[in-house]
Assembly symmetry: C2
Homo-oligomer: 299 residues x 2
């Protein structure tokens, strides 16, 4: 069965058509979100119509940044998609194409793509985490995406790592995202040392051996390792897969993270789970959304 995947992002819209594990069609464009949801929706419809001419897909999966309600198929005021709150996105596409349409979180879609045909392939359970501007994750157990009762499984950016700690936006005080996201590393390195070039600069200074940068990155990876160890003791996944600009910048952070995580789990669990980089990059959302609707039992 051919299925279409759509990745609706704050800057780009990506559309692909999948057969089995292979992408047979690909198009991407600016999402032009400043012109409003109706405009972007018409771009998506246009792209899907063009795809359908050559690749007659039977279902559509669409992923977008959270928060969203996957059961209702609506976005809930995502910060990077202004005015999309409560736009009935799946309804609109469903009525236009007369096909089954499902909406899911973009980190969940990426998790599914890595589990189905990426770094997590062949593992019984996969925990995917992306660290870039924010922190997002997704969890696939036995081939099944676990979204949670309200679709908020994997919202580990709000996991409390240090009670009464650093406070950022609408997160809990001491939440993971306030320490390890690109935004947080950038803010902390600016406050402490006056560096102006974000997480990239802090990581590169640490790689060059600058003492204060090494300490900052060590601290950052300690906090992330607490979150990962907590996930080990909560659902014990077989592999942790990492994407996003912060974690994948050079091959520097992941070995540090793996060592720190193993130091925080029961002895019998040490080195019993793997760490890997995501492989699907910009295609992850489209792939995952298309896999998601293919696997759904829609009878």
């Amino acid at each position: 069965m051919l299925t279409a995947g759509v990745d609706l992002g704050g800057t780009r819209v990506r559309v692909g058509v999948l057969e089995g594990a292979r992408m047979h069609y690909w198009e991407e464009r600016d999402s032009e979100v400043l012109k409003g949801p109706d405009h972007t929706l018409s771009i998506i419809i246009h792209m899907l119509e063009r795809a359908k001419e050559t690749m007659p897909f039977e279902r559509i999966g669409i992923c977008a940044p959270g928060p969203l309600d996957y059961k209702l198929g609506v976005l809930l005021d995502p910060p990077n998609l202004p005015d999309w709150g409560l736009v009935p996105i799946t309804d609109v596409l469903q009525k236009h194409f007369l096909l089954p349409v499902r909406l899911l979180n973009d980190a969940n879609a990426a998790a599914l793509s890595e589990a189905a045909s990426g770094a997590g392939k062949g593992y019984e359970s996969v925990w995917f985490t992306t660290v870039s501007t924010g922190v997002g994750s997704g969890y696939v157990n036995d081939g099944q995406l676990i979204q949670g009762a309200r679709g908020c499984a994997g919202e580990i950016g709000n996991m409390i790592i240090l009670p009464e700690g650093r406070h950022q936006s609408n997160l809990n005080p001491g939440a993971l995202e306030s320490y390890v996201s690109g935004t947080a590393i950038s803010a902390i390195s600016r406050e402490r040392f006056g560096w102006q070039n974000g997480a990239k600069e802090a990581i590169e200074r640490a790689m060059a051996g600058e003492k204060e940068a090494v300490e900052l990155i060590d601290e950052t990876m300690t906090y992330l390792s607490i979150a990962i160890a907590n996930i080990v003791h909560t659902v014990n996944p077989a592999i942790f897969v990492f994407g996003g600009g912060v974690m994948t910048q050079h091959d520097y952070l992941l070995p540090i993270l793996a060592e720190k995580t193993n130091a925080r789990v029961y002895a019998s669990l040490q080195r019993s789970f793997d760490f890997a980089y995501a492989v699907h990059g910009n295609e992850a959302g489209v792939l995952g959304a298309a896999v998601y609707v293919r696997e759904l039992n829609l009878s």
Copy 2:
């Protein structure tokens, strides 16, 4: 199909036979663990033989305290069952009865019993937590028990709540169990106030309004609420079910915990998940073990 459930504990062995959701047979005895594993195993075999005479079960599920390897069917040096490390418990029963036998963690069995026919019945996902001497938990999603790659899903006693915090036995510094277990509450109230009668005394003093006890219990429930909120942002279960002597003593702690947890989740998630007491008590392990083997696809 009739299935047998066995609950092997440090003090009692319980055996039951289940048909559908109903227990049709029940026997319990001292486990006499000081006489060694062979002796206790012969008690279990004897109890199962007697059960089989009137209720010819086709499968056997046995639960025991962790750590254990559910895939290999062996215990891994559980503190309350000395010398049981690596005893091939499922092999022995399998060879004796010539029936399929499976081993699982007792907190996981209790979770399954609450999801199948207890406080979690009808919920799409159930997180069960027992707080007594230690802290254990189990997670059932869509009717399926999620045990994790090494069977350590639900080992939240080792979740880090306060980095570099209180240190107890082989747990992480600042682990949940070091703050909220009966053992921990007992130790903390003895250290701080000289109270000698454990968690029970601390809770009763708090219920009577004694200021320092109220503060201690408030602190304890704050730590537990951090763990529960972290689980919300990790797998977002529909209901949290609590068992064990500490949490179920009077109806005092659970409302405090619910309020504190809701204060630590995203606004859109507040009051979107339920809290309840476990209903199966001493039968939970037997019920869950029998349900577990009934649901297995053994083809």
